[in-house]
Symmetry: C3
Subunit: 136 residues, 3 copies
């Protein structure tokens, strides 16, 4: 069984955002056992799994990745689309644009503290498109 759905998320501000409930809200009944694959169709944002409770974690992600991948590095050559563009491509590749999550007893089998992060690296990234594919 393969079921697929394409969705578009409302724009997010730059930063790390919990979207677990949004994602599960888009899913119809899940199979007893299987996998959910989530694919983000962009190269300047990312998906990640991380701590879902304390917002300070997402704040520190923001701090850390902006320090790790600085803007306005004079060595960058891809600069025409703004100072946040090339760093966004790099951050996107480090975190990755897709997640695969097990489905168990008709539910996503995430750990207690695992939430799905939409990582928006552009100042104005606009709506982001996802492809949800369920194998069961």
């Amino acid at each position: 069984m393969v079921v697929q759905k394409e969705i578009a998320l409302s724009p997010f501000s730059r930063g790390f955002h919990l979207i677990t409930r949004q994602i599960t809200g888009y899913l119809d009944e899940l199979p007893e056992t299987g996998l959910l694959h989530i694919h983000l169709k962009h190269t300047s944002a990312a998906l990640a799994l991380n701590e879902n409770a304390d917002p300070s974690v997402r704040q520190d992600f923001n701090y850390f990745i902006d320090r790790l991948v600085p803007e306005r590095d004079p060595a960058y050559t891809h600069t025409l689309e703004g100072s946040d563009d090339m760093p966004s491509h790099l951050k996107s590749a480090l975190f990755g644009q897709s997640l695969t999550i097990p489905i168990t007893r008709h539910r996503l089998n995430l750990g207690t503290w695992q939430g799905i992060y939409l990582c928006e690296f552009r100042d104005s990234g606009g709506s982001r498109e996802l492809v949800l594919t369920i194998i069961g």
Copy 2:
């Protein structure tokens, strides 16, 4: 065909550990062709594929990631759970918490030098839970 199993690994010390044999020991007969998905249900550890022969590689991973993601950065705001906690979340997201590995002729089709690493980033991470899902 979808087959799934949940397992709990004995606690590992902080560092990078080869768990290929442990994982294959938990698997029953694999399908002729397919995929194995391994999901770690935690946000302060990770899974990775890397060099399976020389332990010095795993030692250097430890050195590198501790330098890349320092502890006790005064800018961190998520500090209540110990100085190893926020760095563990960041490391976990950089490496990722799941792997998908092809199955060919009833065996994992890894490269000669590829082994499965359990990356334990906490000082006392305790037992780690995995979900193994086989699609074939």
Copy 3:
């Protein structure tokens, strides 16, 4: 339905290379809906999705990752295979060695700007082997 194919790419120079067309050239007719999993059987190269139009992006990836993961760090202990070897293992784990891409209406459902990168981190990495697995 599971279909699998193993391929070997001609050697690439050190750097980031677009291989989307090479990959799709190896694929026979894709299912209406499904997933393509691409696995790289090596620990000193990686696969990533990123910007497919402007070569300056790939040039800046090269600059960034060489700065993030320096060669000849005196703290490395795994040095027998050359100064590019241990950094290659680290870069490989940060980017990851596999991709999963949705298939929709018999085609890879990538974003407009998403291309598949073969990230070659060795000076002379030689031919790289991939396993392509289609679930549909």
